[in-house]
Amino acid sequence: MESEERVARIWQARKLVIAAMSGCDSPQIEAILRNADTELHWALWNLGEAVSLRPELDYGESA
């Protein structure tokens, strides 16, 4: 897989995770999903992507 495709898939994964987190009524599941998004944001950061300093700051654009 080329780097561009990997980056695109990670962005997609973040959208899915953030969508699953929306309105979540389980603190456990929301906490797990939040961790998942933190890791995906961190992967994009280390691939040199122009993500925000903290994952929550991206939500407006990517959710």
Binding site: H41, W42, N46, G48, A50, L57
Partner: protein, 462 residues
């Protein structure tokens, strides 16, 4: 039946020379563009969320939108210093107006060791701990440590950020972690023999102390399961080649280290070539100044390292004075494009003394002492002020092999003084002291005893 994964990492990833080749070998132009983007976002973030930075930037008339180039950032964003943070935290404990996140985001609290009396409080968000731990892994991987290795942590689990972050890194890499918390030196040695870890994490001097105690127990640690030793917290095998030789001989292992600053990041993993450290340019932005004039220094010149961290969202650090003197290079035979500091930290702006017109740095003296036969690893450098001049005196304990022969102590002292004179062109007093009389440390070994009046020294807690 579903197949079970048999490895923490796939074979392709495991075969990589780099933890992240794309970032570690990123071309300079791309790194510069990335840094500019991240610095602009960081200045905006700090201005919006940290009362400390808003006041500081307002006082200098700089707005986030004024930063349009890396040069703008270096020239217009004011320098910050640890003493400012300590002062504000004392006024409003624990973090004062330096905090940029609500308290509920603080996932981990650390402190500096507070050897000058006032520890700096360090808040980390969960994301900050992920980033901090990751910084260690670049060095682990470069040294050859892989999933399947197991880490032994030879230290107590206090508030010291260095080793907590080393632990976060070991977890990220997917290795087994063995805590030595609460054990004495002999207990650590017994645990290593019993549990057979392959990686030792400790301060460099504690690694040597363990080897010395093991020898007294009749144990040769060079025959133990340890394959790698990895160090931080004080000058180690990269800064002090003599120390590398001692550690690698005593443990029969490959020694590595990284350069970190507790309140900032484990920001510079050791180069696999062993002759310097590489700045983790995914997490920090580094540039260097002449500490006297404040002017930026060119590549290859020694300058004070100024750091900005992208990794600290709880307590941002922008243009932070480290007081570490480094020599920066932009290329390395190992293939990394990340800036390299040859020999790691060459000295401290506050631990340099001018003796009879000659600048003498702590590490330069330590490097020479490590090679003098008869000088043990237990020594200290005493700074005094006499007749308007700085004076440095070396006090050392003789090695056990000559402990009973005082004439050899004196001969060793003369040899050390002569080597220092020949290499550094300065005559220092070198004095042997009784074996066992200097203090022992599990964490940071205190090499400097600064007896100069306060107005002649800095009071940084390092």
């Amino acid at each position: 039946m579903a197949s079970v994964p048999l490895s923490v990492l796939g074979s392709k990833a495991r075969a990589s020379r780099f933890w992240n080749e794309a970032s570690e070998t990123m071309p300079r132009a791309k790194l510069d563009a990335l840094h500019l983007h991240r610095l602009r976002a960081l200045v905006r973030y700090a201005y919006d969320f940290s009362p400390f930075y808003r006041r500081k930037l307002d006082a200098t008339g700089v707005k986030p939108e004024d930063i349009r180039s890396l040069e703008d950032y270096r020239r217009r964003v004011p320098l910050t210093d640890k003493s400012e943070f300590i002062h504000l935290q004392r006024e409003q404990p624990p973090y004062g107006p330096t905090l940029a996140l609500p308290q509920e985001f603080i996932a981990h609290h650390s402190e500096t060791s507070g050897t000058t009396g006032v520890p700096l409080a360090i808040p980390f968000s969960m994301l900050d701990t992920v980033r901090y731990g990751e910084s260690w892994v670049y060095g682990y991987w470069g040294l050859g440590i892989r999933p399947g290795d197991s880490f032994y942590f030879a230290f107590g689990w206090g508030n010291f950020a260095g080793f907590w972050s080393a632990y976060w890194g070991a977890r990220r890499l997917g290795c087994r972690v063995i805590s030595g918390g609460g054990l004495d030196t002999k207990g650590h040695i017994e645990a290593i023999l019993r549990l057979k870890p392959t990686v030792l994490i400790s301060t460099p001097t504690f690694a040597l102390r363990m080897a010395s105690v093991a020898a007294d127990m009749g144990v040769d640690l060079a025959k133990s399961s340890i394959k790698f030793t990895y160090h931080a917290g004080e000058p180690g095998p990269t800064a002090l080649p003599a120390m590398r030789r001692q550690i690698e001989r005593a443990w029969g292992a490959k020694a590595g280290e990284l350069l970190g600053i507790a309140e900032l990041d484990a920001f510079a993993p050791g180069c696999p070539n062993g002759d310097g450290v590489h700045v983790n340019e995914m997490s920090v932005y580094a540039w260097q100044i002449d500490p006297a004039s404040g002017n930026e220094v060119a590549e290859g010149e020694i300058g004070e390292n100024i750091l900005t961290s992208f990794a600290n969202s709880a307590q941002p650090l922008l243009n932070y004075r480290t007081h570490d003197l480094v020599r920066r290079r932009s290329s390395c035979a190992c293939g990394r494009t990340w800036a390299k500091f040859e020999g790691s930290v060459l000295g401290r702006t506050d631990f340099m003394v001018t003796v009879r017109g000659t600048n003498v740095y702590q590490t330069a003296v330590e490097n020479l002492l490590g090679d003098v036969p008869g000088v043990s690893m237990h020594y200290e450098l005493v700074f005094t002020r006499e007749g308007g001049n700085d004076v440095m005196t070396v006090r050392f304990e003789p090695e056990k092999s000559i402990a009973g022969d005082r004439a050899l102590w004196e001969k060793t002292a003369r040899e050390a003084a002569e080597r220092i004179h020949k290499a550094l062109h300065v005559r220092l007093e070198v004095t042997p002291v009784e074996p066992g009389s200097l203090p022992r440390y599990e964490l940071k070994t205190k090499r400097i005893v600064d007896q100069r009046p306060k107005e002649f020294r800095r009071t940084l807690d390092r």
